[in-house]
C-alpha cells in the first residue's frame, strides 16, 4: 500500500469523527434541510467526473466522463439550490402591518 493511500485513510478517519461531532446537536426541525445540504455536498463527485472527462482518451472514457459530469453537476447545483429554497423559509418574517 502506498503512503498516499495510507494518509488518505487517516484523513478519512479523522473526517468521519469530525462529521459526527459537527451535527451532533442538530434540532429535528433542521433534519430535512441538513439532509438536503449534505446531499448537495457529495455533489463534489462532479470534480472527480471532470478529471475523468477531461483526461479521457477513448470513446468509452469520454462517455463515462460526460455521464459523470452531467449527473454530478445535477447533484451539486440542484442540491444546493433546493436547500437554499428550503432555508429561505426559515428566515425571520417582518412583523405584519408595519408597512
Amino acid at each position: 500500500m502506498s503512503l498516499e493511500f495510507v494518509l488518505a485513510v487517516y484523513v478519512f478517519l479523522l473526517t468521519v469523527f469530525l462529521g459526527i461531532e459537527l451535527i451532533n446537536r442538530v434540532p429535528a426541525t433542521l433534519h430535512t434541510p441538513l439532509m438536503s445540504a449534505t446531499n448537495a455536498i457529495h455533489g463534489i463527485v462532479l470534480i472527480g467526473a471532470m478529471l475523468i472527462a477531461g483526461a479521457a482518451d477513448t470513446t468509452l472514457l469520454h462517455i463515462l466522463g460526460l455521464v459523470g459530469v452531467i449527473l454530478g453537476a445535477g447533484n451539486a447545483v440542484g442540491g444546493f439550490a433546493v436547500t437554499d429554497r428550503m432555508l429561505e423559509m426559515f428566515k425571520k418574517k417582518p412583523v405584519e402591518g408595519q408597512q
Binding site: M1, E4, A8, V11, F12, T15, V16, L18, G19, I20, L22, I23, V26, A28, T29, L30, H31, T32, L34, M35, A37, T38, N39, A40, I41, H42, G43, I44, V45, I47, G48, A49, M50, L51, I52, A53, G54, A55, A56, L60, L64, G65, V67, G68, I70, L71, G72, A73, G74, N75, V77, G78, G79, F80, A81, V82, R85, L87, M89, F90
Partner: protein, 464 residues
C-alpha cells in the same frame, strides 16, 4: 510552472475543505443554517474552479456541456418542484451523485487496468465506489419513485425476494474477490456494476413507503462514502474530505431520524423480509362506524372552544392548504381561542418537512410545538383538528403490538375532549394501516379536499 499550478490546486482544495466543515457546522443551527449552505456552495465553486486548471484535463467540451446540461436540469427541478415533492427530489439528486461516484470508479479502473498493475488500495477503492455508488443510484431512484407514488408506496414483497437478494450479495462478493485477489479484468468490474445496480433495486423495493425518509437518508450517507471512495481512487483529498463528512453526518442523521420514528434500522431493512404484519388490523375495518360532520358544526365546535390544537399532516400539504389553515387559526385567534400546532417529528414526509411547509405560509414560529412539548396538553384541549394526518395520530402505535407502526411515538390526539378529522376519504395513510382514532365516539369526520373544507369552515366560523 506546472508545480505552481499544482500548489494553487492544493491550496484551493484546503480552503474548500475548511469551508465545507464550517458550512456544515453552521447548517446545524437554525439561525445560521442558510449561511452555512452558502459557505458550502462557495466551497464547491472554489473546488470546481481549481479543478479546471488541473493539468490532467486536456479536453473541456465534455466538462462544459455536461455541467451546463446537469446543472441546468438540477437548477430547473430545484426551482420548479413543489415543496411537498421535495423528499423525492432529494432522493433523485442523491441517486445522481451515487451514479457519478460509480462511473468515476469504473473509469479510473479502466485506466489502471490499461497501465498494468492494480494495487490493493486501488482495487478496494474501485470495488467500494462501484458497489456503493450503484446501490445508491438505483436505490434512490426506487425510493424517489415510491415517494412520488409512481411506484406503489407500500412494501412490495414476494417469497423469491430474500433468496434473490442473497444471490445478488453473493454475486457482488464474488466480483470483489475476483477483483482484489486476481487483479481483475474489465469484465469483472462491469459485472460488479450490473449486479450492484440490481441489488439497489432489490434492497429498497420491499421497504414500505413510511420508512422511505430513513432509507433516503441512509442512501445519502452511502453516496458520501462512495464519493470518498472515488477520492481514494483518484488520489483527490477534497473528495475524501467532503465524502467522509457526508458519510459520517449522514449516518448520524439516519440514526436520529429512525430514533424520531422509533424504527430501529435493522427493522427498516430486515423487517421488510419478515412475516407480513398488520393484516389483522385492516380486516373488519369496514364494519366500524364513523361519525360524519359538516363545516358548520365543525365551526361551532372550534369557535366556542378555548383550547385548540391543530395536527397538520401530509394531506394538508398535498392540498396546498397551508395558507387556509393559517387563516383559520387567525380567525380563531380573533375569538380568543388559544390555537397551537402540534408537529410530529415526521409530519410531512421527513423530519422538519412540515416546519418548512408552514413557514412558507407565514405561520408564526411560536405557535409550532414539537411532540414532546405538547403531548401532555391534549387532555386539557377542547378540540383537536387533524388535517390530512393519519399515521402520526394512530393510537395503534401505543396499544397494538401487531401493528407495523407499534412503538412509533405518536401525538396523543385521542386524549382530547373531541377530535375533528379532516380527510379526503377513508383511505388508509402512507403506511397503509387502519386508524382506530377515526372510529372513536368523540371523533367527527369532515370529508373533502383540505383546502375547500377549510374554506367552508373559515366562512362558517366568521358567522357563529
Amino acid at each position: 510552472m506546472e508545480d505552481l499550478r499544482e500548489s494553487i490546486i492544493h491550496i484551493a482544495y484546503i480552503i474548500s475543505a475548511a469551508l465545507f466543515i464550517i458550512g456544515l457546522k453552521r447548517l446545524s443551527a437554525p439561525a445560521s443554517a442558510r449561511q452555512g449552505n452558502q459557505l458550502a456552495i462557495s466551497a464547491m465553486v472554489i473546488a470546481f474552479l481549481a479543478t479546471l486548471i488541473d493539468r490532467e484535463i486536456v479536453t473541456y467540451w465534455a466538462i462544459i456541456i455536461g455541467t451546463l446540461i446537469g446543472g441546468g436540469i438540477g437548477l430547473y427541478l430545484a426551482r420548479k418542484v413543489q415543496m411537498t415533492a421535495m423528499p423525492q427530489l432529494v432522493a433523485l439528486f442523491n441517486g445522481m451523485g451515487g451514479g457519478t461516484a460509480a462511473v468515476i470508479a469504473v473509469g479510473e479502473f479502466l485506466k489502471f487496468a490499461r497501465d498494468g498493475e492494480v494495487s490493493a488500495g486501488e482495487g478496494l477503492s474501485v470495488a467500494f465506489g462501484v458497489t456503493v455508488g450503484c446501490i445508491a443510484f438505483t436505490g434512490s431512484l426506487i425510493a424517489g419513485g415510491k415517494l412520488h407514488e409512481i411506484l406503489p408506496s407500500g412494501a412490495i414483497r414476494n417469497p423469491l425476494q430474500m433468496p434473490l437478494s442473497i444471490l445478488l450479495v453473493l454475486g457482488v462478493a464474488a466480483t470483489w474477490i475476483f477483483l482484489l485477489g486476481m487483479g481483475g479484468e474489465e469484465t469483472t468490474v462491469w459485472i460488479m456494476f450490473a449486479l450492484a445496480l440490481v441489488l439497489g433495486v432489490a434492497l429498497v423495493i420491499p421497504i414500505g413507503g413510511g420508512d422511505m425518509p430513513v432509507v433516503v437518508s441512509l442512501l445519502n450517507s452511502m453516496t458520501g462514502l462512495a464519493a470518498a471512495a472515488a477520492g481514494f481512487v483518484l488520489d483527490n483529498q477534497i473528495l475524501v474530505v467532503a465524502g467522509a463528512l457526508v458519510g459520517a453526518s449522514g449516518m448520524l442523521l439516519t440514526v436520529l431520524m429512525s430514533r424520531a420514528m422509533n424504527r430501529p434500522l435493522s427493522n427498516v431493512f430486515f423487517g421488510a423480509f419478515g412475516a407480513v404484519s398488520g393484516g389483522a388490523a385492516a380486516e373488519g375495518a369496514e364494519a366500524k362506524p364513523i361519525r360524519e360532520t359538516t363545516a358548520d358544526d365543525a365551526a361551532v365546535m372550534l369557535g366556542y372552544a378555548s383550547n385548540v390544537i391543530i395536527v397538520p399532516g401530509y394531506g394538508l400539504a398535498v392540498a396546498q392548504a397551508q395558507h387556509a389553515i393559517r387563516e383559520l387559526a387567525d380567525e380563531l385567534g380573533k375569538r380568543n381561542v388559544n390555537v397551537r400546532y402540534a408537529i410530529h417529528p415526521v409530519a410531512g414526509r421527513m423530519p422538519g418537512h412540515m416546519n418548512v411547509l408552514l413557514a412558507e405560509a407565514n405561520v408564526p414560529y411560536d405557535q409550532l410545538y414539537e411532540m414532546e412539548q405538547i403531548n401532555g396538553e391534549f387532555q386539557r384541549t377542547d378540540v383537536v383538528l387533524v388535517v390530512g394526518a393519519n399515521d402520526v395520530v394512530n393510537p395503534a402505535a401505543r396499544t397494538d403490538t401487531t401493528s407495523p407502526i407499534y412503538g412509533m411515538p405518536i401525538l396523543n390526539a385521542d386524549a382530547a375532549q373531541s377530535i375533528i378529522v379532516m380527510k379526503r376519504s377513508m383511505k388508509p395513510g402512507f403506511a397503509g394501516i387502519e386508524n382506530d382514532l377515526f372510529h372513536l365516539d368523540k371523533t367527527r369526520m369532515l370529508f373533502g379536499d383540505a383546502k375547500n373544507a377549510l374554506a367552508d369552515v373559515i366562512a362558517a366560523v366568521k358567522v357563529v
